[in-house]
């Protein structure tokens, strides 16, 4: 089942969009241009798109969707949040479980410094206010993979609050304009991950793996400033890039290091917010977008047909492409929050509040962490634009593809070619081949050095750009061959012999008198045909500019 078609209404025009990759639910009015500084307080709520049902009636029935996200990012750390057990993905079941993780009676939590630093770092990168004092709470519920019967989290006073995340939505005719958007961050809290339950339906057994139980999580709570799947997906992608740049989380959704729950409601603008549903089980950015858009349309349809929206938890079924009610969670949960008595308040310091006699091993200095912040994606993009003169949207593409930026920078390092040329080759040719074969950058048969060598050949006019394309194709197919080898094997060097080229042009004109006639009768564009024929005859080895010059000379003589 495909995602339903949604209609988008704005300024008298109407677009349809089927999926996030293709369409957009954003107003495609002239963008204000991407400003490099973060735009605070600019809520995308103000410009939220409006939805109608499939049969819009006049004036009324405009719907606006309100989407908020809760994102769980697994902290990249050697050990768990409150115990010394290792953190490792895909280790043998129950091999990374300490007495505390298994909640043996009498065990106590001991806070992992690294996790606190990761939270502070993430908070700073997301423009949050870092609370100098934060508290831990117990959140109670019975579940087989929650051994203590409660999760330690930060409900009352989290470590970071009131931040913002700026992301760019592509718009315009060719998706080539970037509209900056900002979503407010309500809070970031430190909490424990749960274990994993594996249900064996055949034997009606549940198997528990506690390797993940107690791993540190950052729960990032976004304010409901988003209004469609694409916005949510783009915001999450930006967050993912930030976490990866910081190294605070590997943020790999497929490995569950980044998990997103979406709260979704629809309402008529100007009216109170609608009843919201929570959609869970969103394990890729693409499904996140799909699920949100599906759920928005489902709610609209439901309401239009006189139904009502239940405040419920729904799960996204990625094979069917729809959301479904999770019946088992129907009962209203009261988490019976309570302060965690075994952990004193988490106190952080800054340069001004740090006691003079403080043991550096025992305290965390916010200012010191601020100094170690790496370059964030938004700054990297700016740098790319300034340093290499590329378009902003190109910088987005470079960062969005895993490993592409590094590939690009390695090519730049090794080639004499112009950065613009490199950008064009990496984003058009190289990325095009990758996409066509659905490969990751790391799986590419072409190395940065090989591409650099090819661009050098082009730059030194050893080969024509058409020949370069041919060489690239050979490089892709025949891994291991250097561009130089391919060029000499295939004799693709640029034809430098002007006499031979003149001869070729001459015979081509003779062979195609009709074209020459056309030209002479005042159709200057007919010359392209001749150029093409000559190039073909040289197997793309001739410089088209030279061919044109020779032809023009001969024609005018």
């Amino acid at each position: 089942m495909a995602a339903p078609m949604l209609r988008w209404v704005g300024r008298g025009r109407r677009w349809t969009f089927a999926q996030v990759d293709g369409g957009s639910c954003h107003r495609r009015e002239a963008p204000t241009g991407f400003t490099s500084n973060r735009i605070r307080g600019q809520s995308s709520v103000a410009q939220q798109p409006l939805y109608t049902t499939q049969k819009p009636r006049k004036g009324e029935h405009k719907w606006a969707a309100v989407v908020g996200l809760e994102i769980h990012a697994q902290i990249s750390s050697n050990s768990k949040l409150f115990s010394g057990s290792q953190v490792r993905f895909s280790a043998p079941p129950n091999s990374l479980v300490s007495f505390f993780d298994a909640s043996l009676p009498g065990t106590l939590p001991v806070l992992n410094r690294r996790c606190v630093e990761a939270a502070v770092m993430t908070g700073l990168a997301l423009n949050c206010h870092i609370n100098k004092k934060s508290l831990f709470d117990r959140k109670h519920y019975f579940y087989a993979d929650l051994p203590a019967g409660y999760q330690i989290t930060q409900q009352r006073l989290p470590i970071a609050v009131n931040g913002s995340l700026t992301y760019g939505i592509c718009a315009g005719k060719k998706q080539s304009q970037v509209i900056p958007k900002t979503v407010r961050i309500k809070q970031i809290q430190l909490e424990q991950d749960s274990g994993k339950s594996l249900h064996d339906d055949l034997r009606s057994q549940t198997l528990i793996d506690l390797n993940r139980a107690g791993v540190g999580l950052l729960e990032v709570v976004l304010e409901p400033d988003l209004s469609c799947g694409e916005e949510a997906a783009t915001a999450v992608r930006e967050l993912q890039l930030i976490l990866q740049a910081l190294g605070t989380s590997q943020a790999n959704m497929a490995e569950g290091q980044l998990r997103v729950d979406a709260n979704i409601s629809v309402h008529h603008p100007g009216e109170p917010l609608g009843v919201r549903t929570e959609v869970k089980n969103l394990n890729s950015i693409r499904f996140l977008a799909k699920a949100i858009d599906y759920e928005i349309q489902r709610q609209i349809n439901e309401l239009e047909n006189g139904g009502e929206i239940l405040n419920e938890t729904r799960s996204f079924h990625y094979q069917l492409g729809c959301t479904m009610s999770m019946r088992d969670k129907e009962g209203k949960q009261d988490y019976r929050f309570m302060p965690e008595p075994n952990l004193p308040p988490l106190v952080l310091y800054d340069a001004t509040s740090l006691p003079a006699d403080a043991d550096p091993q025992q305290v965390i200095n916010i200012d010191q962490i601020r100094e170690t912040l790496p370059e964030l994606p938004s700054v990297t993009r700016e740098r790319l634009v300034q340093q290499y003169g590329m378009l902003l949207e190109h910088s987005f593409t470079l960062l969005n593809e895993v490993g592409l930026l590094e590939f690009f920078q390695n090519v730049i390092k090794e080639t004499r070619a112009e950065p613009k040329k490199v950008t064009s080759w990496v984003l058009n040719t190289f990325l095009g081949y990758l996409k066509q074969q659905n490969l990751a950058v790391s799986e590419s048969p072409v190395t940065p050095s090989a591409l650099a060598e090819l661009l050098d050949l082009l730059d030194s006019r050893t080969i024509s750009s058409a020949a370069a394309k041919q060489v690239f194709e050979e490089m892709w197919k025949r891994e291991g061959k250097t561009p130089g080898q391919i060029v000499s094997e295939k004799q693709l060097e640029l034809m430098e012999d002007r006499g031979a080229l003149e001869q070729l042009c001459h015979s081509m004109m003779e062979a195609h008198p009709q074209v020459v006639m056309d030209l002479k009768e005042g159709n200057p564009r007919a010359i392209n045909k001749l150029i093409g024929l000559v190039r073909k005859a040289t197997q793309n080895r001739a410089d088209p500019a030279m061919i044109k010059e020779i032809l023009e000379k001969k024609l005018s003589s």
Partner: protein
């Protein structure tokens, strides 16, 4: 030898008057003889004998580990002991063998102490009588003392029945009975609302509750995390100081232990006089339910200090009367939370029902916990409900702050140590005690001890004298936070003045023999 204090027997070990193995065997044999007291849930005979052997070797090599090397000790059965069953006197943990030692247990072992066994308690330490554990009630050794028996003979009304035995108080009654009956020289209890001091008072022992944060709770199966502290039961104040010296200090495994250095070891000076001291008498502790005997002993104690040159002041702790109800909310809430882990999945009891995980949880918890525990879980979950949290839990926390501030104000007014009763009266017979339910009893019996836990202060119960019935009565000293040493120093001076009599257990021994005879006969007849 068995009747000596820890310090005395430690000296005897050092001088070679007795070997650790001999001492261990004597204690083990007494443990067997006094089995009917029900003080121990598990006797770790093999472990103790092996430890004694190792200790003996160290003494031979002149490498004694210190005052505790070779000293038999007992540990309340809510401290994790590696390889030794730890039950909390609950069906829920029957058969549970922890894979690690509580920090306090490890520290005792590191000092060469011999672990005789795990002592009886109220289930999960919820109670004030040591009567509500799954292994049955603990009997107070004083029930069988010469002092008590003679008084009873004089009283024409008393029926001289064995069913008239007395409770130990609780919840660390097993530990108190173990030390009181000479089966060991010191025992660990836990103290959340008075669970160490209360049985100490009823069993004629020193019962010490250290400042919260001074001694690690890691491995102590919690009742109320924010109030629990490991307690120490000994025959004299110096012994308590020795044990405290071994246990105190920061523990990386317990984030609530404090890092500030505190003078170690805890050597207690003998005060020549108390003229520089100021003793506070909280007027709110004079309640109508207080027995006249305890009241008069309390007042005599105050006089003792005054005549010793100390300043004795009446002070006010105005929020004391709210302590019980406040404790009820905070305790049950934490209990509800702490008990959530007992679901039958990872360890402990699991029922046979397997229709669903939820059904399994429910039946497991129903079978595993007694009524007292279930009742507290239910209350606690009620108080933690979103709609009730502000009205109960948050309010109780505020009251707790007021109670703690009462103490701060009293100490700021110049008082060094507070002097109060520990219990309303001496120990009562079991049959009397169980006329009221656990909750009522806990509320009554913790009245003088509980507020201290709210404030995290150090407190110690010192046996003062025997009542008209020949039973021990204790008084409590409360000190400033982390002034444990000062507190014990004052208690030591007081202890010296009052010269509390040693329990005379000849009667007990005779009784033991009789019981043993009966058991033998019984077992013979069964064959």
């Amino acid at each position: 030898m068995l009747g000596r204090t820890l310090r005395e027997v430690s000296a005897a070990l050092k001088q070679g008057q007795i070997t650790p193995t001999e001492l261990c065997q004597k204690c083990l044999s007494l443990i067997k003889k006094t089995k009917f007291l029900n003080a121990y849930i598990t006797v770790s005979e093999e472990v103790a004998l092996k430890q004694a052997e190792e200790s003996e070797q160290r003494y031979k090599n002149g490498q004694s580990l210190g005052d505790l090397d070779g000293i038999p000790v007992a540990v309340k059965d809510n401290f994790s002991t590696s390889g030794i069953e730890t039950t909390c006197a609950s069906n829920m943990l029957k058969g549970y063998i922890p894979p690690y030692n509580a920090t306090v247990v490890q520290k005792l072992l590191d000092q060469g102490a011999l672990l005789m066994g795990k002592t009886n308690l109220d289930e999960f330490a919820m109670g004030s009588g040591s009567t509500d554990g799954v292994f049955g009630p603990v009997k107070n050794p004083w029930s069988y003392s010469k002092q008590y028996r003679e008084k009873r003979k004089q009283n024409p009304h008393s029926k001289n029945e064995d069913s008239d035995w007395l409770i130990t108080g609780g919840s660390s009654g097993g530990s108190a009975a173990a030390v009181s009956a000479f089966t060991c020289y010191a025992a660990l209890g836990s103290d959340t609302g008075g669970s160490t001091r209360n049985p100490a008072a009823h069993c004629g022992l020193v019962g010490f509750k250290p400042s919260y944060g001074l001694v690690s709770r890691h491995g102590l199966i919690p009742l109320v995390n924010s109030m629990d502290v490991p307690g120490i039961l000994t025959r004299c104040v110096d012994d308590a100081a020795i044990v405290l010296g071994a246990l105190a200090g920061p523990d990386p495994k317990d984030s609530t232990t404090v890092h500030d250095p505190i003078n170690k070891p805890f050597m207690l000076p003998s005060l020549a006089d108390v003229s520089k001291l100021c003793i506070g008498i909280p007027k709110e502790y004079l309640v109508p339910e207080l027995s006249s005997e305890v009241r008069s002993l309390w007042s005599k104690a105050a006089d003792l200090f005054e005549s010793g040159g100390a300043k004795v002041l009446e002070v006010s702790l105005p929020h004391t009367s709210y302590s019980i109800v406040c404790y009820h909310v905070l305790c049950t809430s934490e209990v509800a939370s702490n008990m959530a882990r007992f679901d039958g999945l990872q360890y402990g009891h699991r029922c046979d029902i397997d229709v669903s995980t939820e059904a399994m949880y429910a039946a497991t918890r129903r079978e595993g916990f007694n009524d007292v525990v279930r009742g507290r879980i239910l209350s606690g979950n009620f108080f933690l409900l979103k709609e009730n949290y502000e009205n109960y839990f948050v309010k109780a926390q505020k009251v707790r702050r007021l109670i703690a501030n009462d103490f701060v104000n009293a100490f700021n007014s110049g008082v060094d140590v507070l002097l109060t009763p520990t219990t309303l009266s001496e120990a009562v017979p079991y049959l009397e005690f169980i006329k009221e339910d656990n909750r009522t009893r806990s509320a009554q019996d913790d009245i003088f001890t509980q507020a201290v836990n709210m404030a995290g202060l150090p407190a110690v119960s010192i046996p003062v004298a025997l009542s008209n019935q020949g039973l021990p009565i204790g008084l409590q000293f409360i000190g400033r936070a982390f002034c444990d040493q000062q507190l014990l120093t004052v208690a030591k001076w007081f202890e010296k003045q009052v010269q509390f009599p040693v329990i005379q257990l000849q009667e007990l021994m005779d009784y033991c023999s009789a019981v043993l005879e009966n058991e033998k006969l019984a077992s013979v007849s069964l064959k």
